[in-house]
């Protein structure tokens, strides 16, 4: 059984979809009960056939506007979150997040803003090699994951941020990162090839990602 729209159409004649008000209640209940964001796909799968959770969400989101709890979009999923201005009431619920090292924070930011990004590219931007532990920690926190391999020689793996990252930082998607547009406009998210042989960026002069490869050797202490 798939959860795609096509087969709901067929079923619609058999099971009438519940009225929109009911669908709204259903989405509300499902999102309320879950700490994790719930994807539209999952909502569709759990609700009666013919339901349109996307539409129900539009109403529900409106209903929760300005309330103590809000409906948040995270990637392709939805979640209920308390309003940020009420955080002070919740000291009791505060979860101690593991302290991230400066290297980890910087690496995370670089992955978020430059994704998909290879390890070599991260190293080029930071000017030092990225320690295995830093990446492992971010992977373990499920804030980053492996993306597609780059279509450059060596087909290096890339890193991208996860839905968990978006959720943690209250972002709807990675395009909403603060200052992203300005950084892009300033050309600071470009992978600019180094002219000639700069030690920081490796010996290779050509304009490919491969030029960023192998620089870690230069920084190995």
């Amino acid at each position: 059984m798939t959860d795609d729209a096509p087969d709901t159409e067929e079923e619609q004649s058999l099971f009438e979809a519940p009225p929109m008000g009911e669908q709204e209640r259903m989405v509300e209940a499902i999102l309320f009960a879950s700490a994790e964001p719930v994807s539209l796909r999952e909502l569709t799968a759990r609700m009666p056939h013919g339901s349109d959770p996307a539409e129900a969400i539009v109403y529900l989101r409106k209903r929760y506007e300005g309330r103590g709890v809000n409906l948040c979009k995270i990637g392709d999923a939805w979640a209920m979150r308390t309003a940020p201005d009420l955080g002070f009431l919740m000291q009791r619920e505060t979860v101690e997040t593991r302290k991230l090292s400066r290297a980890a924070i910087e690496t995370l930011a670089i992955i978020a803003y430059h994704q998909p990004v290879t390890r070599a590219e991260i190293e080029e931007i930071r000017g030092v090699s990225v320690s295995r532990g830093t990446v492992d920690q971010l992977l373990e926190m499920e804030w980053i994951r492996f993306g597609r391999r780059k279509m450059t020689p060596g087909r290096p793996v890339t890193f991208v941020v996860t839905e968990g990252f978006l959720d943690h930082f209250g972002l709807e998607n990675a395009r909403d990162l603060p200052g992203l547009k300005e950084l892009r406009a300033a050309g600071l998210l470009e992978n600019r090839p180094p002219p000639g042989s700069l030690p920081v960026t490796g010996e290779v002069g050509d304009e490919d990602e491969e030029s960023t490869q192998g620089q870690s050797e230069l920084f190995e202490d």
Binding site: F32, A33, S34, A35, E36, R46, A79, M80, R81, T82, A83, P84, L86, G87, M90, E93, T94, V95, T97, R102, A103, I105, E106, L108, A109, I110, A112, Y113, I125, R126, G127, V128, D167, H168, F169, G170, L171, L177, P178, G179, L183, A186, G187, L188, R192, P194, P195, G196, L198, P199, V200, T201, L218, F219, D221
Partner: protein, 263 residues
Amino acid sequence: MSEDSFQEDTVSVADRLAAEALIVDVDGFEGPLDLLLTLSRTQKVDLRKISVLALAQQYLAFVERAKALRLELAADYLVMAAWLAFLKSRLLLPPDPSEDGPTGEELAAHLAFQLERLQAMRDAAARLMGRDRLGRDFFARGQTQEVTRTRKIQYTATLLDLMQGYARIRTRDEFRPFVMDREAVFTMEQALDRMRGLIGFAGDWTDIVSYLPEGWEMDPARRRSATASTFAASLELVKEGHLEIRQSETFAPIQLRKKDRPA
């Protein structure tokens, strides 16, 4: 040279003290780029307007001081120092037209870009970490409800499964260990061998049936196998250019003829 250039720099006492503090702190830096970025702050200008030459001089002075203090610098700091010395000379000397490669300005611009990019990423990181965060500023549902997943298994079978299943039972006695029944099989290799020996004599169109091995024509199973392999072998020989094959119409006899090889 660096000692001199250090003197030339119009740095305040405070800056000089800061520079010394840097040296003691060298372990706290994340590599030469990080150090350069810190040094660049003493210029108190927009990173875009930074004087890379001045920065190079500062860095070289730093390395000199470190050497004087017998601090051991990691190799990458020295690599950077060498490169900056090279950059400095490029920036100071008039460009040599015979030399290709990037100009001092291009190299300086790239370094400035790297510094600006690193700074931008640090600012971005700080802004990111300063956002409202889940579990600190906003919260997820405290009392979640488990979604119970029930797995319903639906078994299916096709009519074919059913019939084959039945046939299997009813013909169980007929089953023998799964080995090829070689007795009634004439392999294509055998057919090829046979044909190769025979085609020399087939100057004229001959029915393929006449190529079947002796003793295989009567038994239907053997005849089928031999016909199939002889036909396949013929095609193979046609492909190799030894044979011609024809059939006048559907179900008409298939005829073979030796093909004279072009000289």
